[in-house]
Structure formats: C-alpha cells, structure tokens
C-alpha cells in the first residue's frame, strides 16, 4: 500500500442494467454528500454500463460533483469479471479514498472481488456511514448476527476504504436540474474471453420485476395466509395503498409465491416506510430483512407471536377478517 495521503475523494458506484440505474446509487450520493462536504473533497459518481451518459448526468443532478463513466457493450448486463476489471482499473488510476457500493446482489458480488484484488478492507451491508472524529476514517455501521448485534467497522491503514450499503436505508436527495459537473469517459474494454460466465437466459417468474428493495409500502403475507388464492386479500390491500406484495419464506416453500417476493435473510432486505406483516410469525430470518422499515404493522391471531415485539402497530385477530377491514378503512379514508 503506497502513501495513504495519495488517496482522495469519495466515490459512489452507480449500478446500472441495460442503461438504467438502480436507485441505491442515487441514495448513496445523498448519504455521501455531507461526508464529502465535511472532508472538503469532491464526490464522484462512477457509472459502468452501456449507454449510461444520462445516468451520469442524473447522478450529478442528485448531488455528485462529477462522474466517471465506463461505457461499452460488455457492460450491458452485469458480469463479475468485466465489472471487477473496470472498477479495479479506475481505482488504481484515480486512487479514491472511499468507495461505496449498493448492497444489491450484484454489488455484493462485485464488492469483495474488487476489495480482494486491491487487498483492502470491505465492510458489508452497512446501514450507517459516519466520519470517525479522531482519525477521519469512515466509520461503517452494520448489523450482524441476523440484526441482533450492530458493529462499527473501520479500515484504518488501507485504501480505498470500501463498504457495501443496504438499499433503502438512505433516501434519494432532491433532483436539481441546474447542477452541472464534469463527466470523464474512460475507455476500458474487456475481451469476451476474459468474461468467464455466460448469461444463458433470464427467466421472469413474475410479470414485472418485484422491486421490494425500493418499495415505500410493502404488504407481506406469511404461512398464516393459508393458500395462494387467499393472497388476493393482500393484493387488494396493496392495490389500495399502491404497495408491493412481499412474503415470508414459508410462503415460497409452499409454492404460493415466487422467490422474487421473499423478504428476509435468504430473500430481499427491505426498508419501506410502512411494512405490513400479515400471518407472519416473526422468525429472526424474516426480521433480519425488515429491520430497516420505518413502521411495522402486524396482523396475527397469536397474541404471543414474536412479530409483535417489533411491530409499531399490532392487531391480534384473524387476518381473513382484519385484512379486508383494513382495505375498507383505507378506502373510506380516501373517500
């Protein structure tokens, strides 16, 4: 590791697919903005993808000072090998002090590959980012033990200090059309032989991508819902609220819902404003996925269900009666 002082600036990786950005990149720009101001250093958006100039501009409008883009057909879909090579090449050239990556599946695939190649530290799935007053290092806060223990991690002697950050924890900033900044294009190309994986096919099990990570309201059902057909009750409530439908793993295992809807440790980590847990007992693996929710509303017939321990509002009762009543109550409110 060379001189630590050679490393400057805060970078945020903006993940794209087919030219479209994931929200978490913009969220991280908003999260990093005060840190960059405090350090008095530029905040740089790094975009790798295909046809992404628009994304780089948007990143600046959301608060970045400038952007670096790597554009090419080989980046249309994510691959570990191409994205790692591009990112490592950029870091070696520009030496950023800090690199933040959204903790999506692809972000958590690329992050450790990049940090390992650079022989630096990576903090996983953070929910808090601060500057340590004493040392000026980034203090990354992250949940461990399924959310039972929070840890503050630092990377004192290696650069860049890297972290993957959980989607939905930080909110996007205001879009300021008037902001401008430099967009630097880097030509980094990866021969197809260097990419060792092939996307054979993409199978869509649901008509539209289920965007649980970015949903503001989620209506989730568990085994208590009883059947695939009975999810209709939850879909009605979700339609009324403009919400996305989620579920527990028991529901996926029963074949009532595809895995894309699953919330929890082996599904999606979510951070909505409102999370409805309906007929969900509240197993730790489920709770691990919902700890970022602002407000949890639980419906369960078992008064002692653990879900009530984390719920802000709970209704003890039969979901077959309570859910339609909730839908009606929200409807009545609008009228």
């Amino acid at each position: 590791m060379g001189n630590l002082n050679d490393y400057k600036n805060i970078w945020v990786f903006i993940e794209t697919e087919c030219g479209k950005a994931k929200n978490v990149g913009y969220e991280l720009i908003n999260a990093a903005r005060p840190l960059a101001d405090q350090k008095g250093c530029p905040l740089v958006a790094v975009v790798i993808g295909k046809d992404i100039e628009r994304v780089a501009k948007d990143a600046i409008c959301y608060g970045a000072d400038s952007a670096i883009i790597v554009d090419g057909p080989e980046y249309e879909y994510y691959t570990t090998d191409a994205f790692t090579k591009a990112m490592v090449t950029l870091v070696e050239k520009y030496k950023p002090e800090t690199l933040m990556i959204g903790a999506t599946n692809n972000g958590r695939d690329m992050g450790p590959r990049v940090s390992c190649r650079l022989k630096t530290g990576l903090t996983a799935d953070c929910t808090g980012i601060d500057i340590d007053e004493e040392t000026g290092n980034i203090a990354w806060t992250r949940p461990t033990f399924g959310g039972n223990l929070m840890a503050v991690i630092m990377c004192p002697e290696h650069r860049p200090q890297m972290g993957t950050v959980r989607p939905g924890v930080f909110k996007k900033g205001a879009y300021d059309e008037g902001r401008s900044g430099e967009i630097v294009k880097e030509e980094i190309h990866v021969a197809s032989g260097e990419i060792r994986t092939t996307l054979v096919e993409r199978v869509n099990e649901v008509a539209e991508a289920v965007n649980l990570e970015e949903a503001e309201i989620i209506v989730s059902g568990g085994r208590g819902v009883g059947s695939a057909e009975n999810f209709k009750l939850l879909e009605d409530l979700a339609a009324e609220l403009g919400a996305t439908v989620g579920c527990s793993r028991a529901v996926v295992d029963a074949g009532w819902m595809p895995h894309a809807h699953q919330v929890g440790q082996s599904g999606k980590t979510v951070a909505p404003k409102l999370y409805f847990a309906i007929g969900i007992s509240g197993a730790i693996q489920h709770l691990a996925g919902i700890s970022g929710s602002d407000t949890v509303i639980a419906v369960n017939k078992d008064e002692d269900a653990p879900i009530f321990e984390v719920a802000d509002y709970g209704i003890v009762g039969n979901l077959n009666e309570v859910v339609p009543a909730l839908t009606a109550a929200f409807q009545a409110r609008k009228a």
């Binding site: 450790p112 399924g146 223990l149 840890a151 630092m154 994986t197 409110r333």
Partner: protein
C-alpha cells in the same frame, strides 16, 4: 466432479438472546450449528457427486469444537473433512479468512491427490453475515464465481447455475473450476441416519495449521492480514412502544390502526 464445501460453524442465531442489563449477546449455552446456508451448499454438492462421481471434501476454519460441525457434514454425504485451526488464524477478517481458506484448499488438493472442480460456499454465515468470503476465495484462486445460487446442474462439463434475480432468475453457465455461493435450494438438505452418524463419529478429522499449508504467508493471516477493524459493537435498542390491539372486532381494530397511522402522519 471433485467438490470442496467451505463450512463455518456458527451459533444458532434463533437461540441468541440479548442481556437486558449489559446489552451484549448472551453466547453461553447457545448451541453451535452448521451455518444453514452451508447445509444447502453441502446438499447440492452431494447430489452432484452422486450423479457424477468424485469426492466431496469439507473444509472449516475455526476452533477445535468445529470438528463436530464437520462430523455432521460427514454424516450427510461428505467423504472427508479438514479443520483449519491455528492461533495465527484468529482475528481474521474476510480478506484474511478467504486467503487462509484458499491456501488450505491448495494444500488439501495436494494431500488428497486431486483437483477441485467446484468450490461451494453458503451465501453468508449467519453470524458475521458479510457474504464476502466466497467471492474472495474465488479472487484468491483466480476462478470464476456465481453468487446467490438457487440451484446448480452440470451440463457437458460445465455448470449451469440459477442465480437469483429481481423478477425471477438468471441461468448462468461457467466452465470449471469455479466458485458458487448458495442461497437456497428447491429441496431440503437430507438428514443423517443412525448408521451414517456412527460412521462419521469414528472418523479422524485432520487439523491443518500453518505448518501443514506450506505456501501460506503468515503476515496475510489473522489480525496482521486484516485491513478491517471492529471498533465497537452494541445491541440495537428496540424502543418500540408498540400499540397492540387485541380482543376487538376486525372493523374497529382496522379503523383504529388507520386513525393512529394518520395521527402519526405516516400516511
């Protein structure tokens, strides 16, 4: 197909409680288990081995007691297991852990006189929860990786992996050798039989320390080889003074919750 499964012994997080006074985790008396995601890695590995032949070997880095976890893998289809254990390996972050494991993998290949075609990991360990060790092993060994696997099948000497995606899954193929991390399977891991448990119990589990891993560089292990530092830990205070409505008519309870949400300006 020769398969290496990397397995971590973890405390059963279902059983972990927080001490209300000290706000620390109570680990005493908490049973240790095979990391649940690693049981999936092991199960898909055993199925591939049964279909294609070859050996399945389990590696685990940890204290002496992790031998128990290795034995439970032997009881459900693993051929051999190695414990990687040494004082110099303690305090490793994921960079150092993955480095030690990757060097151990090479040493075990040497000892067993084989080359691994497939290295399987769980998506993440339920204690450290980083999901970083798998991709980092792949990087140390310069192998392709596929993460978030939902299933793995072999096809013409390659593997095809169902990888989790927002709207379903991607089918991704790669040549071997490769590293795959497993999140879930379409089937449950098998249970041991009394006979297989007895056989596993009798089996010697060799322990590998630095002397048994000739290529290992100690400065890359343990705290010395770890760029990250845990500065502090604390248990999150759940200051939820939750409202629980019980014994009410569904309509009244629903109206009440909507009213409360409105008053709290949450709608």
């Amino acid at each position: 197909m020769n398969i290496c499964v990397c397995m971590k012994q973890v405390p059963d997080t279902n059983e972990i409680k927080v001490d209300p006074e000290t706000h620390t985790l109570i680990r005493k008396g908490v049973p240790s288990i095979v990391n649940p995601f690693d049981t999936y890695a092991q199960e898909v590995g055993v199925r591939l081995k049964e279909q294609l032949g070859g050996k399945l070997i389990v590696l685990s880095m940890g204290p002496e007691q992790a031998k128990e976890a290795i034995k439970s893998c032997l009881a459900v289809g693993a051929d051999n297991g190695y414990l990687i254990s040494s004082r110099s390996f303690g305090g490793s972050d994921t960079l150092a852990t993955s480095y030690i494991l990757s060097e151990a993998i090479k040493a075990v290949e040497e000892k067993e006189g084989l080359k691994f075609d497939l290295i399987l990991c769980g998506k993440q360990a339920t204690d450290g929860d980083t999901a970083q060790v798998g991709p980092e092993i792949a990087e140390h060994l310069d192998l392709p990786q596929i993460t978030y696997a939902l299933d793995i099948v072999e096809k013409d000497g390659e593997i095809q992996v169902k990888r989790e995606h927002d709207s379903g899954y991607d089918m991704i193929s790669t040549k071997l050798p490769a590293v795959v991390t497993v999140v879930k399977l379409p089937y449950e891991p098998r249970y041991p039989t009394i006979k297989s448990k007895m056989a596993a119990k009798k089996k010697e589990i060799p322990v590998l320390a630095e002397a048994d891993i000739p290529s290992i560089k100690l400065e890359l292990c343990g705290l010395n080889g770890s760029p990250t530092r845990v500065k502090k830990t604390y248990t999150p205070v759940r200051e939820k003074s939750g409202v629980k409505l019980a014994g009410m008519e569904a309509k009244d309870a629903a109206d009440q919750v909507v009213k409360l949400l409105e008053e709290a300006k949450l709608l």
